[in-house]
Each structure stands twice: as structure tokens, then as C-alpha cells.
Symmetry: C2
């Protein structure tokens, strides 16, 4: 189902690159070295990163290019932009490439961590959402759940 299944083998990484490339080409974009570099940074991190966190891992690439790359990747559905609390947007591999998950957001340090629910819990949430949204004729594409509090370090 998912391109990146967590084991992170070399083959997975190639499959990830291929999938991103396909998505870019579907929109008439190109898969350049900057694109690959940013994808790899996000894949390696395994959790949402802010621009200040990404920049040091893309040495020599100007800030504006990283922003542009992230925008292109977002439009191609390869990356998601997350805005929760903090002043900086967080970026992560899209759920199209990874797997569905939710977030723990630390009030103090702003760090965002991925968490998973069981399929049963997800099913309950989805059906509750479909029910409530349907009543207002709202079509739900996706949902995001953020738990806000304090991480172990900031407790």
C-alpha cells in the first residue's frame, strides 16, 4: 500500500523517488536534484520538519529554492504542509507516499511527532466524520488529528 513502509531499505528509497518522479511528471514538472534532496531529507527525518530544520540539511541550497521546491512537491501531492501553533510551517512526506497518521504537538518546544491509531479507531473516526459532514453536504477528503500538550523532554 505505502511506498515507504518504515523499513527504509535502499529499494524503498528508489521506489519513493520513482513515485515522486511520476507525480511530478504528471504535472509537467521535472524531478531535479533539489527535489530529490528535499524528499530525502524529509524521508530520513521521518517526522515533520520546519524550514529552519530543513535548511542545514540542504547545504548550499538557498532558502527561496527550498521553499519553491516544497511548493512544487506539495502541488504534486508528494509533500504536505502542516500548520499547527508554531510560527513555522512543518513539512512531511504526503500520506500518499507514507502512511496515514496523526500528530503530537509540544506546546513548549513546538516539536511535532507522528502517531498511529489502530485501524478500528480510524474507522470509527472516519464514520463519525462522514456522518456529521454529510449532514452539511461537506465532502471530506482527509482529516488530521493533533494532540497538543507537553512532550517527555518539556514535561
Amino acid at each position: 500500500m505505502s511506498i515507504v513502509d518504515g523499513t527504509d531499505s535502499a529499494g524503498d528509497r528508489d521506489a519513493l523517488h520513482d513515485e515522486v518522479c511520476l507525480r511530478l511528471e504528471a504535472q509537467g514538472r521535472r524531478f531535479t536534484s533539489n527535489h530529490r534532496l528535499v524528499i530525502d531529507v524529509l524521508a530520513d527525518a521521518g517526522q515533520p520538519l520546519t524550514i529552519p530544520q530543513i535548511l542545514p540539511r540542504t547545504p548550499g541550497v538557498p532558502q527561496s529554492s527550498v521553499y519553491r521546491t516544497l511548493t512544487v512537491l506539495e502541488e504534486a501531492g508528494a509533500v504536505s504542509r502542516l500548520v499547527v501553533g508554531s510560527n513555522h510551517a512543518h513539512f512531511e512526506l504526503s500520506e500518499h507516499l507514507g502512511r496515514h497518521h496523526h500528530h503530537l504537538v509540544c506546546r513548549s518546544c513546538g516539536t511535532v511527532t507522528d502517531i498511529d491509531f489502530t485501524p478500528e479507531t480510524e474507522a470509527i473516526i472516519e464514520s463519525a466524520l462522514a456522518d456529521v459532514a454529510g449532514r452539511r453536504r461537506f465532502r471530506v477528503d482527509e482529516h488530521q488529528i493533533d494532540a497538543i500538550g507537553f512532550c517527555a523532554d518539556c514535561a
Copy 2:
């Protein structure tokens, strides 16, 4: 339990003002006419508003004062700042004053609408969160669920 229970009678509004006043005074702040004005705008709207939506409803009050008022009210726990997708933050009465709820966010027009889950669904979500977060020694204060998609108007 909640100060504002949806019927929106004059008494509820007074109770709302009193509660906001208490919360402000607990922090050595004052309950001024600007504070009341902004609270009333948010209470009347009954859904999250952006600054561009708030300003026309607070005639004569400069933008910077509205921002400052919202910050003070947020610190007092009377207002919550919501950041989802759009370029503008959305503001609403805090769950301390209203009731716990979640959001439908329209990808197209950016409008945010409140929705409620049943207590049973909420209980399941809370226990799932407590479980997963506890395993990482993360202390959950609150959670927010945003369903992203297209509203009836933008379908």
C-alpha cells in the same frame, strides 16, 4: 458545564462576559470595551473568524488593537487561535467558554465550520490518544480534529 450553551439568551451573554472578566482579572488584566466588543463578535459569529472578517465588525478599532486584544484574550484562555491551511489565523471562543468541538475546513474558500462528535466517539478518541501518547510520555492537554475537503458551496 459550558457558559454559552447555544441558546444565546441575554443571561448567557452576561455570564459569558463575567467569565471572561474573571479570567482576565486572574491575570491582572482589565475587561475593557474593546475586549467585550471582540468577545461579542466571536460569540455572535458562532464560528471561527479571521482578522479580515473581524475588523469590519469592530468599527473604529485599529487592526493592531484587535490583534492585541485577541492575544490578551488568548492568554486568558477566553479565545483560541486556530491555524489551518489559510494565510490568516482563525479565532473563536475558547472551549473553556463554549463546548468541545471540531472543524470542517474548506480547501477552496477557507471557511471553517464547527462540528460535534457524540460523547461516545469523543471517549474513544480520547482513550486512543491517551494510550498512544502515554507510551511516549507525552501529556495531552487537548486535541483538535480538522476534516479538510469541500463545503456545499464550493463542491
